[in-house]
Amino acid sequence: MKPPQNPTETRGKNKKIKRRTGDSKIALAFLLPTIILLAGLVLYPMIENIRISFFDVPLNPNLDEIFLGLKNYQTVLTDPDFYRSLGVTVLYTALTVVGSTVLGLGVAMLFNREFRFRKLSRSIIILSYVTPSISLVFAWQYMFNNTYGIINHWLVDVTGILDKAPLWFDNPASSFVLVTIFAIWRYFPYAFISFLAILQTMDETLYEAAEIDGANAWQKFVNITLPAIRPVLITIVTLRTIWTFYMFNDVYLLTKQVDVIGVYLYEQAFSQNDMGQAASISVILFVILFTVIYFSRRKVDVANET
């Protein structure tokens, strides 16, 4: 986000200082509730999280915490499950981000023209994005049910694409496929809305000029469309990557077979009841997140992206 222009800059120096301090007080007052909430429930937990990561923390708050030093980190970093989970997460993120972005762009380009029921169609596409996960998850669990789901019925009995019905919820590999398709289906509308908004601001004459020059569809896409949508593309990919990497809700509700990093952390904390170890996983993930935020900061413009 760009720093706003300071309107007082051109005025006299005394006036500027006076105005600034006056604003600072009232700004602080206006931001105080926000600052208190973020300090108390984001900053403090972050620090507390680092502290917990050095302890063995019993669920019962009356029992003493035992200092373990770096033992939690050692356990996590030598746990093959942690690396497997990290690998699954990276693959899930890569497929989801690429899939939802490409599909979103494709559909946005399809919509970038006048046709009847355009508004209605747009609303239908956004539906999966605005519906709560829990509702969608039930529909998908039913559709992909091993024995009486319509998808397996079509894949095996009707079309014969597959010989054997995949057990979508009981096998880690097919569960992974399911979770990924679900994420692409659910999140492509986000890319679609953003791309459509920018495509509609584009100058049609650029394409007409290119057509006169004899450019084909692909050349037009690479030379005109892509440069124009670049900032939006970068923003979408960055944000979607981060949000997918830490995805918990959608994966956990759909199947217990795919332990992406969010699910792995949750299970360590609340199924294994090993808070200390879960905290150390969080700290490791913090480091990854901050590295990404640091490198993406200048490129992503949160408020002005459409």
Binding site: M1, R20, L31, V42, Y148, H153, F248, L253, L289, I293
Partner: protein, 281 residues
Amino acid sequence: MKRKRKNMLSRTLFYVLLVLILVISLFPFFIMLMTSLKPTNEAISYNPTILPEVVTLQHYQDVFNPALFPFLTYFKNSMIVSFLAAFISVFIGIFGAYAMSKLNFKFKSTMNSAFYTVYMFSGILLVVPLFKIISSLGLYNTRTSIIIVMIVQTLPTSIFMLKSYFDTIPKSIEEAAMIDGLTRVQIIFYITIPLAISGIASVFVYAFMVAWNDYLFASIFVSSSGYFTLTVGLNSLFATPDYVWGRMMAASLLTALPVVIMYALSERFIKKNLVEGGVKG
């Protein structure tokens, strides 16, 4: 002639692709609706039907029967949590966003970075310490715990969105009001809020949707089913004898309805999709 044929072809291709994508988008919703109208034996038949052979409204009656299904309790909890979280998030956010949009102060860029960082943050990274903090505050197993955490989760995005709406309000209007002797707080209530009301409504919808959709925090902060929200409650019924597909589908549709209606209404009132793309989800 050749051009005309090419046009026909590309038009046909366009409509084929359009119908395909619409079917893919809509299919699970269609299945949800159809299954909610089918009797149970038809819903679990090995030969799945698309349209119900027998239409029944039994599942909808069951969903609203408290003796059979605690749907109304969950629905009420979700409503309380989401409404209060969204309302407070927007209220606090209005003042924060006003400061970020209209005031000059020293630590502005620091605040901006802080919001930005939290905006990218995922709740999952803070579950462990937040669980401990909520427990030590004595808020474990209360709706308040979920409300507080949902306010914090939505606040940075609320402020970003509100700020971008406030930025469109010309400074001259405010300057005139200040000459008339209005204080900053009066300006917010008499000028900023009325002028940005449709934007504020869309921020409310955003925050409401986040809270309505939350499973993570609701599942760890609340243990008695009397306080369950829809996500936790419905998920807890999975694989129990109460798990009747038609009933779950009816419940799913009814769970989706409030947010879909709210979203549709907020879309209607907003002419430009100003911040839509920046909404976290």
